[in-house]
Amino acid sequence: MLFYSFFKTLVGQPVVVELKNDLSIAGVLVSVDQFLNIKLDDIRVTDEKRFPHMMSVKNCFIRGSVVRYVQLPSAAVDTALLQDATRRENSAEK
């Protein structure tokens, strides 16, 4: 639940989602669900030479399991708050 809540705070932010097949998609985070599936708007593929078939795509849904990384704008992340939430979550479970 921690990362679901975390991503909900990032809705509206510009992110880059890097997939396990090396495709990187930059876009605005529209929504996220409990599986960390992600919806992006205004997308742009960073390496269009390698992935020309994505050029006309404007928005997309990404299955959570194919994500390797999500690059985030650091200004949008309160690290102190995140660490507190992490400590709370990992002590509440036991």
Binding site: F3, K20, L36, Y69, Q71, L72, Q83, T86, N90
Partner: protein, 93 residues
């Protein structure tokens, strides 16, 4: 206990919060960055990350293998846990 009670493996990761950690990933990738969040799947949030990707190039004619490393950096990133192999807290040999 020598360094805070480690009763289960995840405690090692908990004690590394706000520290620079080393992460070994699938696909010959390594990350070094400051840990801000984790969960039981090893999903992570890291900042000031240095990523090293090891690539093996094979020469098509001689079949010689050349090992090359690609470096990237990320100011803030989420790492999906299923790609994680190993996490090591900061140097303390």
């Amino acid at each position: 206990m020598t360094d805070g009670a480690i009763a289960e493996p995840l405690d090692l990761v908990r004690l590394s919060l706000d520290e620079r950690i080393y992460v070994k990933m699938r696909g010959d990738r390594e990350l070094k960055g400051r840990l801000h969040a984790y969960d039981q799947h090893m999903n992570l949030v890291l900042s000031d990350v240095d990523e090293t990707i090891t690539v093996v190039d094979v020469n098509e004619e001689t079949f010689e293998e050349r090992i090359r490393t690609v470096k990237r950096s990320h100011e803030m990133m989420f790492v999906r846990g299923d790609g994680v192999i190993l996490v090591s807290p900061p140097g303390r040999t």
